[in-house]
Symmetry: C2
Subunit: 511 residues, 2 copies
């Protein structure tokens, strides 16, 4: 498939400006030959106007046709075959097996949302009329949902497929009946174009209005601002850093019409090890923790960044520490998604090193290539942690800090100091039962997912998942960006009163 | 019951400052003797700190105890008896039968939310483990909800019981497991104190932590700002004008931590009459419309303020117009809730009078008492309406403007120009069928409730109700402030992964 380097605007590949940009191959640390044209704000306006034009028609398609559209996108992504895998690898440095898994997840998400809108069960609340009720007759009331309109979606660097062009935000917005204007991530423009092509082919095959999806290429913040502030944009989906997320959030605040901003901004995903569990299996825990920490170079929003460990039983604590340090030292440095991300990682790690009371426990094997990043494990005590705000901040990559707590009250203080997180895990056994009860009662107010004896990495895509949490994990704490409930972000409730069946959506008809 | 004029802070009646204020009896147009002390920001801080302290304990009460607490509040409100009715009447000018109805609704809301949390059905999504799944085992996942924390609630002037101290926002927040810091409306301080007393008695009777509810009295904006910006406040419920609502919304934006702001800011609730229906019963429609317009002096957020009527059949249109004008002229001027509201009404009506192309169709009977307000009916054509932004803005009170449309395309243009509304009604018969289809398809994107052949006034409190809608009807378009779903505003999802049953909330246990 030959790539144009253009943006996709309502079915047409348009150039926008003559200003080009190129992605970097992070494995080889060199600029890729493929050139992409920066879109313009005029192109953004056109994409949004076309989406707005297409919205009423698209939102009224039968759920069967919308479901078919989603599944066809999935099929077309699979049909991109080896070219897609190769391009993603080139642009992100992710290993090919990981890319294959992520592709499968992306297709699964599309078909999950297709199934969900087909079943429609979650949509109907019927409250029949009671014409004889005194003092006043009760009208027939039916609660349904309407799609919000045009949704702006921002692609994530760390999920080039599952949270980019046809990723979770796009899939759930389309499933809801919304049109999507996608801002591609500038670190993987060729990947984005390939997937947009898969969407365009599905649009054609399913005879869907072309304005339903546009892909804006560019590395210019102006384009993002234009999307966020446009009057026709009715919701925003974003996955990325707290810094960029809050820039967009503030732009949303400047709008005349408030709209929901679904920003998933990351998290330190604290892991708690209680004494009973630590005594039982210190070495196995160390293996579990380091595996999770170093998975995918720690480039997950669920990477475990803070390990809160009881050290009242010194021998077991030391066993854990020594084993974890050993395993980290044995781990090779690896490729990060972009040179900027690698640089940010190194800078953040160096900052932590200089904090009084923080000890570098272990660093992975640094190869000869300087652009690779090694995992890092720090250790500190709970007092230092509580007195140093920086230690509670996320470092994107394979870096964790162990917070040693002499007493359970220290653990509780650490919990009190935590900001909102996507997840936390409690590692415990029956000896720890009472403490688990107390810890859970506090942790539920700090996280979107509470885990027992498992690591936080690995997010199941299903109806019971919640991938969100108190700020800054999420800017919209009542929403999840993963799983069935994600669709609801792009719909709002509507009540039909006394409405004849012929004017009602099918799912609100009498059974 | 003797009133203190103080604020209620976590079980204690505290004065705050020595600065007093008094409410006005709008019927007699005189200042009431009862004096209330303005709270201070220190008192607000104390109330919020106590609420935050009480939160973990209160949120962990069994649903049975929380339900009992809600029902006890309702019982205590009823037990306030005639004193409450008399005080509300004095402070608001509302007729006693309306107050009795509103009291019943308030008690119904409390018991509805009690029932809902007892049933708990809506809470559980269980997704069992699949340990044998390849390539990876699937963990056990259970989706539940946690209360947000301390909620700030602002009372409404037009619902001194149902959307004030123990009104819908308070009831749904308490049902969700949140603590409430309530800013009383300064137009009905004695009403607020009486109801707060009912809540305090319920707190004592049910042995609930006293910090769970505080009532802040005052007419000082500083108190509101303090509530909205406080770090322990995790959500805001507000019912009131767009002007005040947007002041609070902007203060929410200035917070470090974004929180949901549930502002229900009102609406013009457009009524559409299509030709078939108009021809069928012009006079009966006029009666229906004027009854709804003049109900409770039009002091409802669902009062019908814009009537869009096809006038292609001139004779029926004239019959409607003449009858409606006659009925409005026959209606006596009445008491509005406060002198400020009455003044705002008169000013807004006078402004509309001066707009070119707007015709005063009828004005109600102005009595000798100048502080009373007469209903007003204006008429204009669709072009004038489309070209005059002011005509699309809500006038709080019994004022409506008829927008005459020569063609259905004019109707569609009027729909396009509408901002978000709580509701809209379509008045039609089988002759209008095709037009209803098209009109509904567009109106669903402008309203939170779409009604057929009924007026918008009267909001049923039930599971299928939605009382919200696109901005400015609501600042948080995915939420309703009336009905069962209102509880969800004050909870967020949480996923429990691999968690033993003993640490799970009861509703997430295996059946």
């Amino acid at each position: 498939m030959k790539l144009t380097g253009n943006s996709l605007v309502a079915g047409k590949w348009l150039r926008g400006s003559d200003k080009i940009f190129s992605a970097i191959d992070p494995t080889l640390n060199c600029t890729l030959a493929h050139e992409t044209y920066n879109a313009t704000t005029e192109l953004v306006d056109l994409a949004i106007a076309e989406a707005n034009q297409a919205f009423i028609d698209f939102s009224q398609l039968s759920v069967e046709r919308r479901a078919l559209f989603l599944r066809t996108i999935g099929k077309n992504i699979l049909n991109l075959g080896e070219q897609l895998i190769a391009v993603v690898h080139q642009e992100t440095g992710l290993p090919k097996n990981r890319i294959v898994t992520e592709r499968a997840r992306t297709i699964h998400q599309l078909s999950l949302y297709a199934e969900q809108i087909e079943s429609q069960e979650y949509l109907a609340v019927l409250s029949p009329a009671e014409p004889e009720r005194k003092p006043q007759a009760k009208p027939d009331l039916r609660l349904g949902y309407v799609p919000l309109g045009v949704v702006g979606v921002f692609a994530a660097s760390n999920f080039p497929l599952a949270y980019s062009t046809a990723g979770g935000d796009t899939a759930s917005a389309l499933a809801a009946g919304c049109c999507v204007v996608m801002k591609a991530h500038s670190s993987h423009p060729a990947t984005s174009e390939l997937v947009a092509l898969a969407i365009l082919d599905a649009i054609k095959a399913c005879n869907i209005p072309k304005g339903v999806f546009s892909l804006i290429q560019g590395e210019n913040y102006e384009l993002s601002t234009r999307i966020v502030k446009h009057q026709f944009i009715k919701a925003i989906g974003f996955t990325g850093s707290e810094r960029v997320g809050m820039i967009l959030q503030r732009q949303v605040y400047e709008r005349e019409e408030p709209i929901p901003f679904y920003g998933e901004l990351g998290s330190v995903n604290p892991q708690f090890i209680l004494s009973g569990k630590l005594i039982e299996q210190p070495k196995a825990l160390a293996q579990l923790f380091v595996d999770s920490l170093t998975l995918g170079q720690g480039q997950f929003c669920t990477s475990p960044g803070v390990w809160v460990i009881m050290n009242d039983e010194q021998e077991s604590y030391n066993k854990f520490i020594n084993e974890a340090a050993y395993l980290v030292r044995e781990t090779e440095a690896g490729v990060m998604l972009t040179p900027d991300i690698a640089q940010d990682y190194q800078t953040a790690v160096n900052k932590v090193k200089q904090i009084n009371g923080v000890n570098v426990l272990a660093k992975g094997r640094v190869g000869s290539k300087e652009h690779l990043c090694a995992p890092t494990l720090f250790e500190t005590d709970s007092n230092t942690f509580l007195n140093t705000v920086e230690l509670g901040q996320e470092i994107f990559g394979s870096c964790a800090i162990i917070v040693a707590c002499t007493t359970f009250e220290d653990v509780i203080k650490v919990v009190g100091s935590l900001k909102g997180n996507l997840s936390a895990s409690i590692h415990a056994n029956t000896m720890d039962r009472k403490l688990v009860t107390r810890l859970s009662q506090l942790l539920i107010h700090k996280v979107g997912r509470l885990i027992y004896n498992q690591m936080s990495t690995g997010v199941e895509v299903c109806a019971a998942m919640n991938h969100g949490g108190p700020f800054p994990a999420s800017t919209n704490i009542r929403s999840t960006s993963v799983g069935n409930e994600a669709i609801k972000r792009f719909q709002r409730p509507i009540c039909y009163q006394n409405m004849p069946e012929e004017f009602l959506p099918l799912n609100l008809h009498n059974c």
